[in-house]
Symmetry: C2
Subunit: 328 residues, 2 copies
Amino acid sequence: MATIQDVAKLAGLSRTTVSRVINRHPYVTDEKKRLVMNAMEELNYVPNSSARRLRKQQTETIAVYVPRITNPFFSQMVEVMGNYASDRGYQLILCQTSYSRNQEINYLELLKTKQVDGLILTSIENEWSSIEPYMNYGPIMLCNEYNDQAQVPTVYLDQIEGGYIGTRHLIEQGHTQIAYCSGNNHASRVASDRYTGYKKALEEAGIVTNEDWFLTNAYSIDDGKRVFNEIAKMNDRPTAVFTGSDEVAAGIWKEALNHKWDVPNDLAIIGFDDQPVADLIGLTTIRQPIKNMAQQAMKQMIDIIQHKLPSEKKEIKLEFELIKRRST
Amino acid sequence: MATIQDVAKLAGLSRTTVSRVINRHPYVTDEKKRLVMNAMEELNYVPNSSARRLRKQQTETIAVYVPRITNPFFSQMVEVMGNYASDRGYQLILCQTSYSRNQEINYLELLKTKQVDGLILTSIENEWSSIEPYMNYGPIMLCNEYNDQAQVPTVYLDQIEGGYIGTRHLIEQGHTQIAYCSGNNHASRVASDRYTGYKKALEEAGIVTNEDWFLTNAYSIDDGKRVFNEIAKMNDRPTAVFTGSDEVAAGIWKEALNHKWDVPNDLAIIGFDDQPVADLIGLTTIRQPIKNMAQQAMKQMIDIIQHKLPSEKKEIKLEFELIKRRST
DNA sequence: TTTATCTATGGAAACGGTTTCATGATTTCG
DNA sequence: CGAAATCATGAAACCGTTTCCATAGATAAA
């Protein structure tokens, strides 16, 4: 493996000059530039990025945190972020927290050890107070997730609205018995706000909730199936269910079909995110502008890194869209 | 940011000894070890990974190439690889080739610049001859994809079997007019072998194929919809269609429903991969042991890196499983 | 014409670790 | 008891760049 020294020797110049050519520094005559280029070509030289990182104290790498990459919401996000970053010379390290607090903290050490220039959190497992100290080691920002205490740039949707829009839709369809079904993340405002929106819509309509209809721990299709069975077992059953993701909604629907229930007449279902599967099966859902969110976030992050901007709260809020299909 | 020097000074020892403690080298007395630990604690010291990378000439990072992370086949793969790697102290760089030859080559430079210790390709866009030269810079291996010329470890399924099993199933269901629908990757043996398997099954059954029934460029649900419309427009229509992915199959089915076709009576559809969506909608499909594949591949790669094994062909072949549902 | 500024280059320090080598102290073994 | 092996530590070299500083010639300004 050729080093810059080898190139310098072959070109009959100093390392410094070679470095200048590589980094497009002015003050190198065209003649020397040509000499260096030829030498690099001949030796098939490529600068060693570890050395570069050490000297420049930057890695051109950005970490993206997601709970699980198989969740289509997050994989879409990562797809867009990855492409955007790659186009600008940054690479992406994927950190899957697996909904685990420990795992999240483990990965945070990445920033501390200077393995990345910054990180984007799409979901938070720990209290903000556990994450905040890491801000000393480099820029952190939020995308999708948001938090009052976090003094960081945030690209998000107001999930109160999300919960409200969906529930409001069900109410307008004539439902008064509406179940609520979500994940299980205590530290996340996405979860709690959405629930707040749900309750807000109910209260406005003067509807009383049934505590039994608050179903948690639902992330996947299988969870949806389980949720359906919980609903089916109830004495006082809801006529509609608000879910936190299209996958869960799809699982509920699938199991409902197995039990010969008619959707939406026996049970109306509304999903969240507008994943491809929602269109496929005809699920009413609340669309989140994932790509837009992802791109704005990555743009912000690269901006912050390149201009060494101080970390401060800067909120970019995007909007939901209700997509009405045949499940409601 | 504290350096090893600061720790050494505070502990009243040399950098060497501190380094030994960090790297769990024997020959350090418990007393000094304690001194070092305390100093590290007090200074909140973390070794700088760029420096470490430079000196040790390794990055503890592995690049994984996928066409697009939103394809569930690949996101499952990446999920497993990411977790497996992370458990063993490696991190994952995600490289999305976007089905582009250029993009693939661009990312290959990662290995050259020593940004990663090795790379796993799950799909190949370029001819192997374009990829091979990069083997000089570090270990490369294949997972899912395979190639005759590639003298590298390969975890794969024999796609001839895959194509055969699926087509055979359709034939057994009484079909003789079977369309074939796939992506568009010329460099990939996954694609060509699967087609070979399809033709093999037909030939064995003495069935003549119709060239018009060879449909390409199909990756997504939307592509599936388009494919359906192409089929619907035909004068001589197939009664069954073999697809290269569950997403495409789902798209075909969805559009068939829109046109009031009955599946499987008007058109039988078989998917590939056994994604969650297949179970959801009742799609017959050919399961690939994705998780197993991913894990074996990552295990291999880490093994190769840690034991500096020479790159050689080593094939690990896994098996398909036909999952019969109601679309056939 | 002298002085200040700009251009072009190289030597050496710096980035922050790990590894090699040297050395002395301690233990083991014949 | 002396030689050999093992343990414990530190100084210095090294990994491959970029950057700071010095120098010198060329050009511009006074």
